[in-house]
Symmetry: C2
Subunit: 334 residues, 2 copies
């Protein structure tokens, strides 16, 4: 599965900027993939791209309409469907990471078949993956892990990929969730794979490569999340990571969605991730910590990070405030 570029970003009837965060992510990390944005009259979001009709987007070269907005109440409205049909008829594929599948809407399936276009439901695996073989492979891999879900693993991974590329290093972000897949056009939604094949799916999307090449792999969940740690474990094993970056959100009061569960201590969390990673790559080591300090003011954020850095003995950065340069510096010194 590889989405055709460039994209027209569909913002639909987004109720606010947050509802269109997928589109914003694509615009932020892959502006070169975006020819414009499509908004319905009631749309309250704006990615800062040129507003285009379907016809204008096709003229500008758009090959795929990417749904960059959450659908309200999980329903794909008739208003959406009529735009999507117009896009298919005009020659675009459509890609979405929604729970509801485009491929479950008969009118879209029929129209896509008629016009030879594709509907990509990127949340759902489109291929069978093998059982992981655990064999060492060439190339280097970095994996982001977390104290919890939704602490900035995708953002951190994309920031590290960008920093590496800016320095002339050979690097590829590897997406393991639907937003990452829509941003880069490929990958696997690790939590939607059949359980037996989690590690095998990750081995597949991070294959052997040149010795100097880095795969920067987006982590998922947390070893300490009682709902999703199985996904995290398979992802760690399949990655065979040389380098780990811990992601953390310091103001969270409990594990996401689990009021009974406190966040793990940083050192305990690092130790557990290291033990898991070393099963498939005995040389695995942490190279830094990425903290999402958006809920702290600048003084508090800097104090927190400075204290944590002293404790863990590794670069601690907020990728949004400071970038990830110090983590990549540290990586390059090893």
């Amino acid at each position: 599965m590889e989405l055709k570029k460039p994209y027209l970003l569909f913002l639909g009837d987004a109720a606010d900027a947050l509802a269109a965060k997928v589109a914003q992510g694509i615009k932020t990390w892959r502006p070169e993939y975006c020819v414009g944005q499509f908004r319905l009259d009631s749309c309250k979001a704006d990615c800062g791209l040129t507003d285009m009709s379907i016809a204008e987007a096709v003229n500008a070269g758009a090959k795929t309409l990417v749904i960059g907005v959450a659908n309200r109440g999980g329903i794909i409205s008739d208003e959406w469907v009529s735009v999507l049909i117009e896009a298919l008829e005009a020659g675009m594929d459509i890609a979405a990471g929604l729970h509801n599948k485009l491929n479950d809407i008969p009118a879209l399936v029929e129209c896509a078949q008629k016009h030879g276009r594709s509907l990509f439901d990127v949340r759902y695996p489109s291929q069978a993956y093998p059982v992981a073989n655990g064999k060492p492979r060439s190339g280097k891999r970095l994996l982001t892990v977390g104290t919890d879900c939704s602490v900035g693993k995708m953002y951190t991974s994309l920031a590290i990929e960008k920093e590496m590329k800016d320095r002339g290093m050979d690097a590829d972000f590897r997406a393991t969730g639907q937003t990452g897949i829509l941003i880069t056009g490929g990958g696997v939604s690790a939590d939607c794979v059949v359980a037996d094949f989690i590690a095998g799916a990750i081995e597949t999307i991070t294959p052997a490569n040149d010795e100097a090449h880095w795969d920067v792999i987006e982590g998922q969940g947390s070893l300490f999340h009682a709902s999703f740690a199985g996904v995290t474990t398979g992802l760690i094993h399949g990655s065979q990571a040389d380098a780990l970056v811990l992601c953390h959100e310091p103001t969270r009061e409990h594990m996401r969605g689990l009021p009974e569960y406190k966040l793990p201590e940083i050192d305990v969390c690092m130790e557990a991730n290291l033990a898991a990673a070393r099963l498939t790559n005995p040389a695995a080591r942490f190279v830094g910590v990425s903290v999402n300090t958006s809920a702290l003011d600048e003084d508090a954020a800097l104090t927190y990070m400075s204290q944590l850095e002293e404790k863990v003995g590794l670069p601690v950065v907020d990728p949004f405030r400071q970038g990830v340069g110090r983590i990549v510096d540290h990586l390059s010194e090893l």
Copy 2:
């Protein structure tokens, strides 16, 4: 999903006793579910049940024909299909744990619909499971874990359930693989669930219960198996086990299917399982070790177990040679 009892065990054209090990497992652990066995002329296996035709089995009360044999080369032969159709027409459901689905064979699907019968492919989940909530629930749970795959977790769990029931304790084996499901008629094939729902599936099949009730949960894989540890992790978290039993096969030279991977040390393996289990049940503890010593002679087996018992300070038994009484004794003392 709950299979109707009693069963007619279908041994088909089993090439040897091993090919019919699923049927043998049902006969061993649930003899009261079995009215007889059906064998084709070329069958080389024998579960020691009365040989019956389809008509005889129906007269004897059989409600489900259970395919207790592996299909050669993964192909469900025409000879099989004609017997299965006869069974459906005679009023039986059919259950199988094969990779190939009964529900993918049009002749069977059509016949089942026509006669109002069901085809159960127990390897594949027949319901949607929720994301695990991690909330403590009443009742007690025991989980078998392993140094590797295929070291006797199902056998040990069934033996513990039987020992508990023989003592008048309230206990239920909870199946997490296709053989266990066919034996008991219910459960979930944990490795075939979508990754996000592994722990949630286990929570679902081991619900809150009377305080004195024990769920004896069949483990899967191993935290140290590079292909399947994600499944194991989710299973441990969903179980919220009070008691763990480690299963081990002492002569294995490498992890099953992974020539590059050695088995973990027993103490390291116990520590890792305990850490994972304590995330969702801080009171989790090991209550014994179950060793499959079938590859050792009796002297070597007893010496090995005696040395291991001294090392771990817990009852160490081979359930086949000695039963699991000492593990249940230990459990009852806690």
